[in-house]
């Protein structure tokens, strides 16, 4: 799974993911997400390029969102497919990670 990071205004970090968030994809981005959650409080994740989300991917996202939330930060996801959004809702991850329709809404949710 590929990950790119882009600095936005207001100290917001945009993380762009590309590929399958299966066990292999989760292994690729687990450490980078840990680093991000340890140093940032406002993160939006572009999910448009994510074609599959398994529970191992939810684990990575929730771990990062919880670390950010515990220091007053917030994570938002935008561009999620209906199947990925269904997984996030089913696990309740959407209660601590905002599911936004587009990048502007995601940025608004974390600032």
């Amino acid at each position: 799974m590929k990950m790119e990071q882009h600095e936005l205004d207001d100290d917001v970090l945009k993380v762009v993911l590309q590929g399958s968030f299966d066990i292999e994809g989760a292994g690729d981005v687990d450490m980078p997400f840990s680093v991000i959650s340890g140093s940032r409080k406002r993160v939006v994740v572009d999910f448009e390029g994510v074609d599959f989300l398994a529970s191992i991917g939810v684990r990575v996202l929730v771990k990062a969102a919880r670390a950010m939330g515990n220091k007053g930060g917030r994570m938002a996801i935008f561009g999620a497919s209906e199947s990925a959004a269904k997984v996030l809702r089913s696990t309740g991850a959407d209660t601590i990670i905002t599911l936004a329709g587009d990048e502007a809404d995601a940025v608004a949710a974390v600032t």
């Binding site: 299966d22 066990i23 398994a54 939810v58 919880r66 515990n70 199947s83 309740g92 991850a93």
Partner: protein
């Protein structure tokens, strides 16, 4: 006319095998062309069950074997998964409570819940040292 013969793959108990499983599924979906609903449910169920089996069914570290048979259907596909690991009935396992808030947020344990939400006609048996799980998707 869609193929009715069961498609099969045998996996070793190494987490890298999940990638081989997903490549096999992509090839199968390309040939049998299931609906989006079937494809999404099937891929999710197989990923969750196989990852769970590889991670927890062989605590002694021995090499194991996971046999998967998938039978395409018009609306629902039938799946059978056999493994020679420790006895585990995913139909009897307690389901993880969904996350409600930041304080109580657990970071894992959702695989069995997602499997059960995306499958039907689930059956489990322990036979001759094998876990035998069958279900339909969705």
């Amino acid at each position: 006319m869609r193929p009715r013969v069961a498609e099969r793959i045998v996996l070793a108990t190494d987490l890298s095998e999940v990638s081989r499983l997903n490549a096999w599924l992509a090839d199968l979906f390309g040939r049998a062309r299931p609906s989006g609903e079937v494809a999404e449910a099937l891929k999710l169920c197989l990923n969750e069950i196989v990852a769970n089996t590889i991670s927890y069914a062989y605590p002694d570290g021995r090499d194991g074997r996971i046999e998967i048979a998938v039978e395409p259907g018009d609306k629902r596909w039938r799946v059978e998964i056999r493994d020679d690991g420790a006895p585990f009935d995913p139909l009897a396992a307690p389901l993880a409570e969904p996350i409600h808030d930041l304080e109580s947020a657990r970071i894992g344990g959702f695989g069995i819940k997602l499997f059960r939400e995306n499958s039907s006609d689930r059956r489990y048996a322990r036979a001759d040292g094998w876990n035998v799980l069958s279900f339909r998707c969705p």
